[in-house]
């Protein structure tokens, strides 16, 4: 009686990437800011390539605080959505075909978002990683930090609270 053979790596990768792509494609604002995501296993890194339209102070120049905040919020929401999706992607409950059909992904809603601007954002690519510190049935608390050239020099950090999609009761 042999144990079940592990799935071929490309099948696993394809399913994970399809799930992530579907999650990202569901939010037009992500495309507007040009944010991409790097996936290593279940770890996500948000990448916001530098673009002129992200500039807030043309004299320095520095990234706009709003662009930085939006980048952090996108990184936080996607991390939260991804964490929620991960189990069903791994168990195969969520197939690439089902993902392609759409309508399966519900996005958490932001309750509040608080940003600390630690340094001015340089005209460079920015990276962010988020950590879900608490994920309950109704609420989640997410911490996110962003850096540019040096991983240890964080230029902005934020904490946000989110309403989980399934607990979405009409007020």
């Amino acid at each position: 009686m042999a144990t079940k053979r592990p799935e071929p790596v490309q099948v696993v990768k394809q399913r994970r990437d399809a799930a992530l792509a579907a999650l990202l494609a569901s939010i037009p604002y992500i495309q507007f800011l040009g944010i991409q995501f790097d996936r290593r296993g279940d770890e996500l890194t948000a990448v916001m390539p530098y673009h002129e339209k992200l500039v807030g102070n043309p004299m320095l120049p520095a990234l706009h605080g709003g662009a930085t905040a939006a980048f952090l919020e996108v990184a936080a929401v996607i991390e939260l959505g991804w964490t929620g999706l991960w189990k069903s992607v791994e168990t195969g409950t969520l197939t690439p075909e089902a993902i392609a059909q759409g309508d399966l992904i519900k996005i958490p809603k932001t309750i509040d978002f608080s940003v600390d601007y630690l340094r001015s954002g340089l005209p460079r690519d920015a990276y962010a990683r988020a950590r879900v510190n608490r994920s309950g049935r109704r609420y989640a608390s997410v911490y996110v930090e962003a850096w540019q050239d040096n991983r240890s020099r964080i230029f902005a950090q934020a904490t946000g609270h989110f309403l989980m999609p399934d607990s979405d009761v009409k007020a």
Partner: protein, 139 residues
């Protein structure tokens, strides 16, 4: 002097590439107060199921408006930068409606300016979001 500062704040806010990308404009500027507006745009949608714009776009408008309020304050010299900003999302913005932000810089110290703001759509009574933040003075 006050006129120059008003011109500076207006010019600065509208020369910001990121504000231009959003199509934001300044409606009014006073002595430590500012009003900015942003049109509804499908590119800013955060939840396609409802057409509601992303919180990040509202955040950007509030941040810009708070910055303009700081620069318009009589005690502020020149430009500013955000130290921190917290936004509370009260309800989804109604799709298709412009978002307006009203900010008040209610205290300025030697190094820090304190600002509050609200974001509204066509309904003046129930805010879409509120914000509170600290900004650098005399940057």
């Amino acid at each position: 002097m006050a006129i120059n500062k008003t011109a500076l704040a207006k010019q600065f806010s509208e020369a910001i590439p990121h504000a231009k990308g959003f199509g934001m404009w300044l409606d009014d500027i006073g002595q430590g107060t500012a009003e900015m507006e942003m049109p509804y745009n499908e590119k800013f949608i955060g939840d396609p199921a409802t057409g509601v714009i992303h919180g990040g776009a509202v955040f950007a408008l509030l941040d810009g408006c708070c910055g303009a309020a700081v620069m318009s304050h009589p005690d502020q010299k020149g430009l500013t930068a955000t130290i921190d900003l917290r936004v509370d999302y009260m309800r989804p913005a109604t799709p298709g409606q412009n978002i307006r932000a009203k900010a008040t810089c209610y205290n300025v110290t030697r190094n820090v300016a304190f600002v509050r703001a609200v974001a509204l759509d066509d309904n003046d009574d129930k805010p879409v979001a509120t914000a509170a933040g600290a900004f650098v003075t005399g940057a």
